[in-house]
Symmetry: C2
Subunit: 386 residues, 2 copies
Amino acid sequence: MSFNFTVIKEDKNSSARMGKIITPHGEINTPAFMPVGTQGTVKSLTPEDLEVLGAEIILANTYHLYLRPGHELITRLGGLHSFMHWNHPLLTDSGGFQIYSIGALRKIKEEGVHFRSHLDGSFHLFTPEKAIEVQEALGADIIMCLDECTPYPATYDYTEQSLNLTTRWAQRCKKAHRKKDQALFGIIQGGMYPQLRKLSAQQIVSFDFDGYAIGGLGVGETKEMMHEIIAVTVPLIPANKPRYLMGVGTPQDLLECTRKGVDLFDCVMPTRHARTGMLFTSFGSLVIKNAEYTDDPRPIDPECGCYTCKYYSRAYLRHLFMAKEILSARLNTIHNLYYYLNLMKKIREAIQKDSLEDYCYEFYEKQKTTFITNERTTRSLYLVNQ
Amino acid sequence: MSFNFTVIKEDKNSSARMGKIITPHGEINTPAFMPVGTQGTVKSLTPEDLEVLGAEIILANTYHLYLRPGHELITRLGGLHSFMHWNHPLLTDSGGFQIYSIGALRKIKEEGVHFRSHLDGSFHLFTPEKAIEVQEALGADIIMCLDECTPYPATYDYTEQSLNLTTRWAQRCKKAHRKKDQALFGIIQGGMYPQLRKLSAQQIVSFDFDGYAIGGLGVGETKEMMHEIIAVTVPLIPANKPRYLMGVGTPQDLLECTRKGVDLFDCVMPTRHARTGMLFTSFGSLVIKNAEYTDDPRPIDPECGCYTCKYYSRAYLRHLFMAKEILSARLNTIHNLYYYLNLMKKIREAIQKDSLEDYCYEFYEKQKTTFITNERTTRSLYLVNQ
């Protein structure tokens, strides 16, 4: 079955909605979080682990797979689903954000982005047409237009030029898009200027994509700015299309952006933090290497239902982390992804039961936080750490 | 139920036998291979993975766990089985081999071994009594006497003095051993001198241990010497006790030493080789990073029944290896351990069906090897690489 999105239930008190996306590889209940499988694997986990965790869709990075092992090789091996043994929905990004991340190694022109591989220094040109070609070769259920991720800070003029380029590229992507069983999403840019977000949204929406992403956030702006821009941008996207906030964020961000009407999220935070021992819990975060856990027989989070919390103590997990054991990354990743995926499940249930406000209240009570802090957003540089 | 060993079937054409060891945490069908879980985890795998692979007993290293996280901590957390969530038989070594491995950092005296931690340089004294105390605290089903692993080469005189020290330490271990639900195994030394192996065996067997290990092999001697010493030593061990060959070896070694009458094996080879991409197959070894596998859609071994071979191509496994993905270690470890554990299962079945000779013939035919080569043995230095 081809791509379809239905809003099932709208929240009374916020812009949140519960829905369902149908793709050729299965359904996704929204709002949904997509674990990141940069190089064709969600680090340390098998697809079966992801199924048990309740992941319904994962994301892979076009830039990485294009460079290694190569999209043509993946096509010869039957496409990315088959290559990585993941038979459920899959989204590939366009490579734009990764190319943006490599900074001095790339040069943006009208035709596309010239860049050098972070692996071997070889020269490459990514055009909108190429981004579609590579993503069609990979064969994900949802693919993304090539965009320029506008840096922060940027002047009004630069941001306007940049979003116009993203628009022209979106049009070329739309034209190049042949495999209609793959849904193509447009990306809205416009930096931190509400007026330019509006302009970008009008232009991108005019091409009638299968869904729309909000790009260019989590790049160093404050959390307040990010949430303001999201609040401004979401209503510009047609209500009958899925809205995908790229690369964001903390559990608080997911909750608040869901209330603003976002349907899809991805972020390396749960998986990367897992590998550095930063664990998410119902009562805030927990740094497993801390000496206080040396002898602690309790699970990471007594309220958590994940495999790691069922069978392992903080003391054992601290030992694995200190001893640099591979199992540390795996057990921590299982826990953090469970936390994120379970959060989204609870949010969906709360929308269904008209109790999202109560859920938010309870969430912040337990976490002992409010959702906006003054910290700057830091969207992960995939190249260096992921 | 306390420790018990029964020989169920003896091979007609060799000294191989099939048997069963009963321990407080379950049964072990012998001959058996024990995966190595140095620091309280078989690298990259969960206990459930090991159950699926058919592991009935695993080994943990006393030296490592004593230094980090400490045996007293593990006792407070309920013992090693509970700490690492492995509810099946467990064997701990005495720490002797690891202390031997650290070379210049240790000094052997009558009272015990003085050594410095490879982690923080702190000073420690391991006496026979201490080795038992630590292993009783860890709580494995089978524990080992402290021994001196005689280096290779060593003079006759040095080897004789060394084995005598091992004998005095064995006596002290036997005396210190309080927790009778843990079986205590003695270790036979004697270097490459058949006469001294005989002397050591007579002395060690006189203390009536629950089982006997052959130590001091795989330390740089040739394969021929190793197999000769095993052939000489096994008959010196009472037939009603399990015979454990420590730290050996290749699939060929396991097959040949089973034929010489060995019941238990451990080795880091399958797990360590997995992490460096060296995979065992029915037709010999396969180095996954080789360019020839770049596009290869076949599983590692078409005859293999493991999870990795069921779902992943050589091309994908090569990609994971080249991209330094954590999943590479895990999928390769699953394959290599399956190979070892399945080999032992086939050997047990062949003994049961009186067809071990045919099995050997077929094994060498496929592998296109004979079992003895001129290579030197290289028993793994746990400290550096494991």
